[in-house]
């Protein structure tokens, strides 16, 4: 007969983690001059929902479409290039918006972010094309 041992790690995790989470919540509540707790809560929950209800379904559908439309040898390179382009584009959003520019500080945000993003995406797709070509050639030989 084996004795079922109750796992200890979840308890340790809760004992250590919950006070830190509470510190964050209590901290916000006590800092309402600088942070409106409700506004912040909306942003945190909103970030979660934006991922779960918008970004994730979109990615899953796109991944499935790529799986149906493209030949097996190039699927993975195309998926990688699409995902990497999307990550770069997401990061670029506030830079492209340009709302942070300040006429009296020309050294701030002083790049052409649109051209830079397109250039980076072009390099990503060129790498993916190289990867796809190598795979196709290998498959034909093999």
């Amino acid at each position: 007969m084996t004795v079922q041992r109750r796992p200890i790690a979840p308890i340790v995790g809760a004992i250590l983690g919950v006070p830190l989470m509470a510190a964050g919540v209590v901290g916000v509540l006590g800092d309402s001059a600088r942070v409106d707790p409700w506004e912040l809560a909306r942003w945190v929950v909103g970030a979660d929902l934006a991922h779960d209800l918008v970004l994730a379904p979109l990615v899953l559908v796109l991944g499935a479409v790529i799986g149906r439309v493209l030949p097996a040898s190039v699927r993975d390179p195309v998926r990688w290039a699409a995902a990497t382009s999307a990550v770069l584009a997401l990061i670029a959003i506030p830079f492209l918006g340009g709302r942070g520019r300040n006429a009296s500080v020309p050294s701030l945000l002083n790049r052409n972010y649109g051209a830079g993003l397109l250039g980076a995406i072009a390099v990503v797709w060129a790498l993916a094309a190289l990867w796809g070509t190598v795979r196709m050639v290998r498959r034909r030989r093999g």
């Binding site: 790690a9 979840p10 308890i11 340790v12 995790g13 809760a14 250590l16 983690g17 919950v18 006070p19 830190l20 989470m21 509470a22 964050g24 901290g27 916000v28 800092d31 600088r34 942070v35 409106d36 506004e39 912040l40 942003w43 945190v44 929950v45 909103g46 970030a47 979660d48 991922h51 779960d52 970004l55 994730a56 990615v59 991944g63 499935a64 993975d76 990688w80 995902a83 990497t84 990550v87 770069l88 997401l90 990061i91 506030p94 830079f95 918006g97 709302r99 300040n102 009296s104 500080v105 050294s107 701030l108 945000l109 790049r111 972010y113 051209a115 830079g116 993003l117 980076a120 990503v124």
Partner: protein, 379 residues
């Protein structure tokens, strides 16, 4: 409770076999290291800027803060693809039915909301801050700081809850080699690594000079700005142009001193000058080294007859702003390279770099290197 029809249909859709425990544990480990590094460096930066009594930040090595804060910002950016990859791997759990089988599991799953929402908020708000874009009312540093505690707490809860699964899926005796899925996992990991490397190159140029040309999403080019140095706040933006260029300008040293000092710019220039190469390191991650010349703060304190362990509150001509005032601890005040600088790269300070006098010291965040200094209050 019955499983909703839409969830039943979704769970019947054929899915990639890469929504897999071992892969989740592998990517999760990398993400955990990135978040831990971000948390540690971010907490350090917070302690330096709002020091509690027990915390005395060292003034050496001079470039330490430049490294820790550069790491903070770059690691934050690089964790974006890691976080999105991790969420993709575990996404089928979102539609798992029933949502929880026990109270403990319900608690564990609820803690995913602050973990995922908090993690996403941290990288999104950090990115927007680097781009100086604020589509919210709250103060960014405060909100980012409190959510970091929430997120790291939720991460520890999550780690504890998943400990057994993580250990068993990472610790297979053959390192997963016998598993038919392992080559595809390796390919996925290589892909995530390549994306993370791409993001690194795209943003790191603000800190890592040689990458600057390739960093198409960097906030700055190091070396671009008046006198070859970037500027955060201009004299016009800080509304100090008239006061800073006035012939009535005096640097005042007062507070706990034997004799109050009032020095004109030319009197300051006649005092013994010291030159030091020091980095200007912004909390937003960019940094550049420059050569500064001026009067050591300690010399002025000695002239005024301040105590050897004196601390100093440095006030700017700025009429307002969160960084109008900065405190200098005794450790920093007694470092010979903590200067009231009059010159930058052997030229008179540019108005945007704090003319007539700016504070510059080793190992301090840029926001504590007060520009347009008007008053030193010894405490």
């Amino acid at each position: 409770m019955k499983q909703p029809a839409v969830l039943r249909r979704l769970s019947a859709v054929p899915r990639s076999d890469l929504h897999d425990r071992r892969l989740a544990a592998l990517v999760g480990s990398a993400l955990g290291v990135a978040f831990a590094l971000c948390f540690a460096t971010g907490l350090l930066s917070h302690l330096i800027q709002e020091p509690p009594g027990w915390f005395d930040w060292v003034s050496r090595p001079a470039g330490l803060y430049r490294i820790t804060q550069g790491l903070h910002v770059v690691t934050g950016f690089v964790s974006i693809p890691l976080l999105l990859a991790k969420l993709w791997i575990v996404v089928p759990k979102l539609i798992e039915w029933p949502p929880a089988r026990s109270v403990a599991q319900a608690f564990e799953r609820l803690s995913l909301l602050p973990l995922v929402g908090g993690g996403l908020f941290l990288v999104v708000s950090g990115t927007f801050n680097v781009a100086r874009t604020y589509p919210w009312q709250f103060l960014f540093p405060a909100a980012h700081y409190w959510v970091a505690w929430l997120t790291i707490g939720a991460l520890i809860v999550h780690l504890g809850a998943k400990w057994a699964v993580i250990r068993s899926s990472l610790g297979s005796p053959d390192g997963g080699r016998a598993d038919v899925l392992e080559p595809r996992r390796r390919q996925f990991l290589a892909g995530v690594g390549a994306t993370a490397a791409t993001v690194f190159v795209a943003v790191a140029g603000s800190t890592v000079g040689p990458l600057s040309r390739l960093s198409v999403l960097a906030q700055r080019r190091p070396g671009v700005g008046p006198q070859g140095l970037p500027v955060n706040k201009s004299a016009v933006g800080a509304r100090v142009v008239d006061a800073a260029t006035s012939t009535d300008y005096r640097l005042v040293v007062e507070g706990k001193v034997a004799h109050r000092l009032e020095l004109t710019l030319s009197e300051l220039a006649k005092l013994p000058q010291r030159t030091a190469e020091l980095p200007l390191a912004c909390v937003e991650g960019w940094s550049t080294s420059a050569v500064w010349t001026g009067v050591p703060l300690r010399d002025l304190l000695d002239m005024a007859g301040a105590a050897p362990d004196a601390e100093v509150r440095v006030e700017s001509l700025q009429p307002r702003g969160s960084y109008r005032v900065a405190d200098v601890s005794a450790t920093h005040a007694n470092d010979r390279d903590t200067l009231l600088a009059l010159r930058l790269n052997d030229e008179e300070l540019h108005l945007d770099h704090g003319y007539p006098v700016r504070l510059i010291g080793p190992n301090r965040p840029g926001v504590l290197q007060t520009k347009w200094v008007a008053r030193l209050v010894v405490t």
